[in-house]
Structure formats: C-alpha cells, structure tokens
Symmetry: C2
C-alpha cells in the first residue's frame, strides 16, 4: 500500500461519521477531516471516548454501548454517508442495560454469533450490519493515510543483528496467534519469544514483561523487541494493530530495545510525538515487511 | 501409550540417577524406585530441589547449576546407568560463577546454541550430551507410568458442551504455540482463547487470568478452561507438560471450570491429591486425545 493512492475521495454531499472509542485515533481522524474542510460527525461511545477531549469540539453525540441498536439511525439522522470505527472499545455491553429496538433485534443474531467467535469476527459482523443499512464503512487510514506505518527504521536508533533475530522470532509468533484471532503482539528476547498477547492487550503484555524482568526471570540488560502485526484475515477497516507514545513508554519500562510493526497494515498514532519519545529513550521503531502467508518476513 | 508396556525394565547392576529440580516430580520418581527395591541416586539442583524434602532421605548430592559441567562425572561416580531429569529448573546459570572444566568446555558450544533456540532445544542438547558420555536418559513416566495422564474425565465434574468448545479452542492454540517452542498452555473462555503461556509458566498464566477477571475484563461467572499439551516436537524424556494440585488451585482462583491435558503426553503430579482437590472445588480434569498434527483433537 502506498499512501497517496489510498486516500479516500469524498464526493460533495458526503459526510464522515466517526464512531469513537478510546485513545487518540478518533481525534486524529477528526482533525484531519476538519483540516481538509470536512465537518465530521462524532458518535462518542460512552465510557470509552472522552467528551472533554478535542472530540467534544466537533458536532457530536454520546452513545451508551448498550444503545448500539440505534447506531445506524444516529449516523443517518446526521447525514453520515461514510463511517469510521476508530479507537479502542474495552467494555462489553451490560446486557441487562440493553434496550431492545428494531435495529438491535435485526442485528442481534449476527452480533451474538460474532461475539462467540472472536473480536475480528465481531467487527466484521458490525461492519456488515452498518453497510447493509446504507452507510459505507472506511478505515481510519483511508481518511488519514499518514497513519499507516511505513517500511524501514523510523528512529535514530536502528535494530542490531541480534535485534533482527528477535524481530523475526516475534513476527512469526505474532502472525501465528493472529491466525487464531487471539492477539496481535509478541515479545522476543535473545532470539526467543517469551510472551504473547491475549485479551489483556499490548499495554498489559508489556507490563507483564516488565514484571518478569523485575522478578529476575529475564536478564537486566536492555534488549528484546515487541512486534505487532495484523491478523492474516484482519478486517482492515477497523482494529488494525497500532502503536503510539504509550507503547514506546511501555516497551521502555519493559526493558526492550525497540518495536517492530507490520508496514502498511499497522497504524502509528501521534507519529511525531511517538518518534520523539523513542529517540529520547533510545529505542528503535521499525516498519517490517508484511508478514505474508507463512515465511515470517 | 499404555502404561504397562511403558515401564522401564532395570537390569541388575543398573542404577537410576535423578537430576532433581523443584516440585514433587523427583520425589514421586524416587519413592516409586524405592518401593520397587531400587536405590536411586539424587542430584539436587541447588536452589531448585529442597534437601529438606523427602529427597534428602535418599543417597544424594547438591549440585549448583553453575557446576553442570561435572554433572555426568557425579552420576558416573555414583554408579548411575540411567538418568531422569525431573522437576522444574527456573534459574539460568550465573555465568560469572561457572567454573570451567573439561566436561563443561566440551558441552558449552552445543549448550549455548541450545540456549539460543529455546528450552526444548536446550533440553535436547543436554540429553544428547549426557548420553554421549554413556549414561542413558529416561523419562520420569518410564519409571512411574502412573504419572501419564489417561484419556477421559478424571473427576466427579465433567465438561459441558460449552466447556468442550473451550477445550478445543485452547488445545488448538496450545498446540500452535508449542510448535513455536513458546509454551504449553492456553486458556479459553466462551469459545475463545484469551491468554497464552509464555516464559511465565502455567502458574503465571493462571494468575493473569485471575487478574483479568478481578479487573472486570472477563465475566464473573465461573467458566473457561486451561489446556496444556506437549509441543509437537517435544523431548518426551524431560519437560512433558504437567499438572498437579497447585494447578487446580490456580485454575479455581482464575474462575475456570476445569482443566484439559493431553493424554499420554502429560504428567499428573500427586494424582490422588490433585483429583481430590478438584472434586472439593467442583472443577473437572479431563485427558484429551493427543493433539496430533493439525486437527486440534
């Protein structure tokens, strides 16, 4: 993927709706649209996106996750033609608080089936549901192509030969667990994968590595890498793996030497701030060739 | 594997040496040999095996892990013809404390190569090294066949249909990370794998699941399973996956409904105590058909 040919052309009369979870991604999308003269509509998922963040400055509405049955109606009422699902949604609905309506009842069987078979299937279900009702779903990187990780070293520090071995080992493992829709990240130290991401997410994974190091299970010397890559069957319009300044801080605290992400299929959040942070801490960040089917490179 | 045909026949004049790490396994092996009229020799790895445990009652010697270069010499001096490597060895040698000798120098290149490519390769290297010097290495289950997990339900409680889905999902995942020599265990809840074992081990994995549940990332209702299975290319004479009463306690604390282990390729430590504990807590333990190459059953 190259950046320029990826950018979405928005015809006159179209409007982008951002279904906003936590983190900086929805903010970057909203700012980018605004800078290009568009006027996005933002649906803030309650408890995940902060109405006091810059998102509150845009035309917006707060939506409890339990009201997801009225999601499409809200978007359409506000003239939305294209929806972006951006930002983390950690909480699952409290089913006792879900108020049934027509939209929800139509969605529910597919939603429940998706829920049972993993996050990625769930997202695909939600996207299919939205598109069937006439709103096109696009990826955040189609609005802001600069978000996509480029191939190669992004930082002052570069991976050594030994770091390259760690990057390869972690990439193979991240790819394998991605194929099972389990997680997107792996940590390798000394050529060997020592921790895999599950439901706890990347921050939790890095905290665990930090704990292992603090408790002497790992050598104290700074080395090892985090690699994130997309699942082979990833729904690229939502939930691409992402890294940001917080990931750099977590990797530093875990004693790692750097971070690898799959180029073209990962998002870099707050890119300039993230790279500055990595340079200050002496970590490398590198965009790796896409993992492809099986060769781990 | 069936049990009876597996039991090792020890010819007169042969003596079993137990290289003992932590946990109950070396004790079970020593007791079993003793009950059959043999007189094992025990090498207690310092800081891992406890000299005040029943192992101290056998003919024994304490060996600092840094003195692994004299391992075979110690075994031979004590008439050992067959060695069993039993019990967990968590600590890695402090290289500054390693005193070079001829045995060590001969072993070192292979040892370092093994160390770089994962625990399983390391074990294979150590075993090859010992056997080349004339001591046969046998598995703990060849001495005590009752240690091998049998197929089927071992407890009062049995897995439900929904537990069976969790068992399948976790088995596939455990098998996949085993193929990468990363770990032997996976936890699935609601049909979905949520945590994978890395270097932290099974107890650490279960603690993590407990934390996720405590922090509300997982539903409070008791369900989900732990599955342990051997790596496809497992060195079966050492490091077969094992469960024991501690695993049952950990699974209970993590809110799981039960445990699955690969029958014939996993060890059950303190079997009667473990099953009694699971029955008290209402957990199931089930021996699963061997994972085989790829079908997850």
């Amino acid at each position: 993927m190259t950046r320029d040919e990826d950018q979405l052309h928005l015809a006159p009369g179209s409007r982008v709706g951002i279904v906003a979870g936590g983190g900086n991604l929805p903010i970057e999308v909203a700012h980018s649209l605004s800078a290009r003269g568009h006027r996005p509509f933002v649906l803030l998922v309650e408890g995940e996106a902060d109405p006091n963040s810059p998102l509150g400055g845009f035309d917006h509405l707060v939506l409890p996750i339990e009201s997801f049955g009225s999601l499409v109606a809200s978007l359409k009422k506000n003239g939305v033609t294209h929806a972006v699902l951006a930002g983390e949604i950690k909480r699952r609905p409290r089913w006792s608080a879900v108020r049934p309506n027509a939209g929800l009842l139509a969605m529910l069987p597919a939603f429940l089936a998706g829920l049972a078979s993993g996050d990625d299937s769930l997202l695909k279900t939600v996207i299919r549901y939205i598109e069937r009702r006439g709103v096109k779903v696009v990826g955040a990187h189609e609005i802001v192509p600069e978000l996509l990780a480029m191939r190669g070293v992004m930082t002052d520090a570069a991976p050594t030969d030994s770091d390259r071995k760690d990057l390869n080992a972690a990439l193979v493992a991240a790819h394998a667990i991605g194929a099972l829709d389990i997680g997107q990240g792996a940590v390798a130290i000394g050529g060997r994968v020592i921790a895999l991401e599950g439901i706890e997410g990347t921050d939790g994974l890095l905290e665990r590595v930090k704990d292992l190091r603090d408790h002497g299970r790992l050598a104290a010397r700074r080395r090892g890498v985090l690699v994130k890559c997309a699942k082979p069957d990833q729904e690229e319009r939502a939930d691409l793996p992402s890294i940001g300044p917080q990931t750099v801080d977590g990797a530093y605290a875990a004693g790692l030497a750097g971070i690898g992400v799959e180029a073209g299929r990962s998002l870099v959040l707050e890119g300039p701030a993230m790279i500055a942070r990595a340079n200050t801490l002496g970590l490398f960040i590198v965009g790796l060739p896409s993992a492809g089917a099986s060769d781990g490179q």
